[in-house]
Amino acid sequence: MRLTLGIWMTAVVVLAILLPMVPQPQHWYEFPVVGGLGEKARIIFFHVPTAWLSFLAFVASMVYGIKYLRKRNPDDDLKSSTAAGLGFLFCFLATVTGSIWAKFSWGSFWNWDPRETSIFVLLLIYGAYFALRSAVEVEEKRASLSAVYSIIAAVTMPFFMFVMPRVLASLHPDPIINTQGKVYMNATMLVVFLSSLAGFTGLYYWIFTIQVRIRRMESLSIHHEGELKRA
């Protein structure tokens, strides 16, 4: 799986960067020129998957939070906070990459556009999640509070990610994926885009499982040390 993922992502990066972008594609290997964006439209293959992963990770954090509240299994709390951490990483990467794109499309790194404002608020919300976790020392209380917080945070997320940028006037390039959900890409561009989404999702799952395994070992090791001290 790891090797396949490596090859898959390499192919995605190579195709996304190297396939030519022409006004009227005649061959299968050509991308169409996306109105007003030019070569910069290729950012869609990398920036959108990071935003998608932050959404996926925050939803996963909520699902594990609900599971924890139902069964009180510490492993669910561990998975919930791991997913939130990864969501924060990808949300941060989406913010930075979007900001770089904004500099060369809008002329400034930060414009307080509805998209930028909403992702900034999301970063603050999940930043507060980690502040909450580090402020509570009792393990069970920390797990319960963070599970509840992760549910509330995830409920607000669709508003910031999907509603607010569409209700308010935004400069964000909707010609690519617009409010009607229509995708103006040719088949090749769509295949590369969906392959990138799939590859990034695989990458997320891989990092998630590695981190969960590490945190399980850390938790076992801490309990073991505690028992040795008591003995």
């Binding site: 990483l89 990467l93 930075v96 794109w101 990458l203 990092i207 590695i210």
Partner: protein, 43 residues
């Protein structure tokens, strides 16, 4: 540098790919340090 990137939009995309890669690299680097710390603990 900014002027060059403004004239060569493909390099803006490459910069974006580089930043995503660096973000993932530092995250994995942190995971690796945690594994090393675990390995250093006495059984």
């Amino acid at each position: 540098m900014l002027d060059f990137l403004g004239q060569q939009p493909l390099y803006v995309v490459l910069l974006v790919v580089l930043i995503i890669w660096l973000g993932l690299y530092f995250y994995l680097f942190r995971l690796d340090s945690r594994v090393k710390k675990l390995e250093g603990r006495k059984p």
